[in-house]
């Protein structure tokens, strides 16, 4: 008869270590939130921050915390979480740690859509977000459609994505070269990825999107775990492989598309968050929850340091994640290139 200990270590129940990582990341997220809300031009003590959030505090504090700072922190957490989850799905589907939406070209698709809107059509913030999502979806469909066929899909998906990215990057450069300086400046800022000035009008749609997409992803988590074994093994174990993969791609593109629409193409979070989370949990499987929490913590921490690092402030968060992520990627390639 199996002991309770043995049953707990089964493949489906998670190890205590994984739960401890979840708890630690969640606690870190809360801590970063409180620091972000309490620091800046007007300092507020952590105790006051919590009191203000609970409805106490002075009207001035309430305005600063709830209107100015909270939506931005929420945006960072939600965008980071969406990128982390989306990265975990794509890395599992492609069987490759480089198979994140930034690498497979969806980010460039969103960027091309947004730049087209900013530089040529001249729409406002919401039109830019909509164009980014549309650009990401069209690119995703193109990349997926071109990579269909028999044989392993993962490597082909990545290589075709890299090709499409190069093409779209050329389109973006072309557009930026053709338009006037002001539009080009605005487009460039958007392309870096930034959370500057993000208010509730960005945080609320992001919350709504995640309230739909994350439960959908939870329903697909177990088929995703099986897809990790390869198409044949997954199908033999009773996973409707093509349907499950298509549904997973739709949800993951949706997550990454919303994130890009809200903050621009923030680089490297989708790539690095799932890998860092896996290093902490030391568990197999896609690790969706840990990757989501890690993405949220990474982006919130990056945005906090981007705001406070320079005395002038207001560094776009994309500069921060780009620098950190680039360093991480080089480290990863030097240490684990054999497995790629």
């Amino acid at each position: 008869m199996p002991s309770a200990e043995a049953a707990r270590r089964g493949s489906v129940p998670r190890s205590p270590r994984v739960r401890r990582v979840w708890a630690a990341l969640a606690a870190l997220g809360v801590a970063i939130t409180i620091v972000s809300l309490g620091t800046g031009d007007h300092a507020i003590t952590p105790v006051e921050v919590v009191r203000t959030l609970l409805g106490g505090g002075t009207p001035a504090d309430a305005f600063i915390v709830e209107t100015l700072r909270l939506p931005r922190v929420l945006c960072a957490l939600l965008v980071g979480g969406a990128l982390g989850a989306s990265g975990a799905v794509f890395q599992t589907l492609t069987h490759n740690p480089l198979g994140s939406p930034d690498v497979i070209g969806f980010t460039w698709g969103a960027a091309a859509g947004a730049v087209l809107q900013i530089a040529v059509l001249g729409g406002g913030a919401f039109a830019v977000s909509g164009s980014a999502i549309a650009g990401g979806l069209v690119t995703a469909m193109a990349v997926y459609g071109l990579s269909l066929g028999h044989g392993p899909t993962g490597a082909r998906l990545i290589l075709i994505g890299i090709g499409i990215s190069a093409l779209l990057a050329a389109v973006v450069t072309f557009l930026l070269a053709r338009v006037d300086l002001n539009s080009a400046q605005a487009a460039r800022l958007w392309l870096t990825g930034s959370l500057n000035g993000r208010g509730w009008e960005f945080a609320v749609p992001m919350m709504v999107a995640l309230a739909v997409l994350l439960p959908a992803l939870a329903l697909l988590a177990r088929p995703l775990t099986m897809l990790e074994l390869g198409d044949d093994a997954a199908r033999a174990l009773g996973v409707p492989v093509d349907r499950a993969r298509a549904a997973l791609i739709v949800v993951a593109v949706g997550l990454c598309g919303c994130a890009t629409a809200a903050a621009g193409p923030v680089p490297f979070v989708a790539l690095a968050a799932p890998q860092l989370a896996r290093r902490l949990t030391r568990a197999s499987g896609p690790g969706l929850i840990a990757a989501t929490l890690m993405g949220a913590v990474l982006l919130a921490a990056a945005d906090l340091s981007a705001q406070r690092l320079l005395p002038t402030g207001g560094l776009p968060v994309g500069v921060m994640t780009g620098a950190l992520g680039g360093a991480y990627l080089i480290w990863h390639l030097r240490h684990e290139w054999r497995r790629l």
């Binding site: 199996p2 089964g10 493949s11 489906v12 028999h150 174990l237 009773g238 568990a283 499987g285």
Partner: protein, 277 residues
């Protein structure tokens, strides 16, 4: 494991798994036309034939990895394509030719994934799951590797772990696509002995594609010889394996003598012996 309700009034079909008049193709490359392949219940059926004769393709069709362009594959009398994927996976297991070892997975976790078709969305790990995994680990002699990482294991150990995953699925029918490829000779016989044991003691029906004609003749209870996508001969190895068949299927001049160890037919190629005469 859910025990199937067996009613004594119905006579079970002699072949739970059959391909009836199937045509098999990859894109526009036709492999087999009008192929009928029936797997006798309780047999260890082995499919042999030269490279590219369609033996793996036929097995993939039986395992519903490949949909026939015409005809159908029947499981318990019903078209396998019409049955829910998880329900089929509780009856029919497959050891594919190639699988991906997920990063950082332990032997135990990999074998545990074989329980997927028995689990619902929210059902937690059960005592039945635990028992099936322990049994599969013991049967394939990898119980002492339980907490090791799969990517640290040797090829032979890895193949036994994959086999354990398929065993944990607890299916009555078991399909194996070239289970001995990439294994050294000792591990080849270990895997084949395990298959024979599963048939004899656990009452499973097994189907395997094998390259080695002598291993096939020794272990099969039902041998199927294929060439150019068609079945050339099938039946007990003693009836099927003859010099004429070996010439017709493999284009090889050979003697067929009784295997000194088992008495089953053994193929001895003329090869250089013929030339040096």
């Amino acid at each position: 494991m859910a025990t199937p309700v067996i009613t004594t009034t119905t006579i079970p079909p002699a072949e739970r798994l059959r391909a009836e008049g199937v045509s098999l193709a990859y894109d526009d490359r036709l492999v087999s036309t009008d192929l009928t392949l029936r797997i006798p219940d309780g047999s260890f059926t082995v499919i042999v034939g030269p490279n590219a004769c369609g033996k793996s393709t036929a097995l993939r069709a039986l395992a519903r990895m490949l949909a026939p362009t015409t005809g159908s594959v029947l499981l318990d009398g019903k078209a396998i394509s019409s049955l829910p994927a998880k329900q089929v996976a509780r009856t029919l297991g497959l050891l594919p030719q190639s699988s991906v070892v997920p990063d950082g997975i332990t032997v135990r976790d990999l074998v545990g994934r074989g329980r997927y078709p028995h689990q619902g969305f929210l059902r937690a790990w059960s005592a039945a799951d635990e028992a099936a995994v322990q049994h599969a680990l013991a049967a394939t002699a990898v119980a002492d590797l339980e907490h090791r990482f799969v990517d640290e294991l040797s090829g032979g150990q890895r193949q036994r772990v994959w086999l354990a995953m398929v065993l944990a699925q607890e299916t009555e029918l078991l399909l194996l696509d070239e289970p001995t490829t990439f294994l050294d000779i000792t591990h080849q016989y270990e895997v084949l002995d395990l298959c024979a044991e599963l048939r004899e003691h656990a009452g499973r029906t097994l189907v395997a594609v094998l390259h080695d004609l002598n291993q096939a003749a020794r272990y099969a209870t039902h041998l199927v010889a294929m060439k150019d996508g068609q079945i050339v001969a099938e039946g007990p190895p003693a009836d099927v394996v003859t010099p004429e068949l070996v010439r017709a299927v493999f284009g090889l001049e050979a003697l067929v003598i009784p295997d000194p160890a088992t008495g089953t037919p053994m193929v001895v190629a003329h090869g250089r012996a013929e030339r040096s005469k």
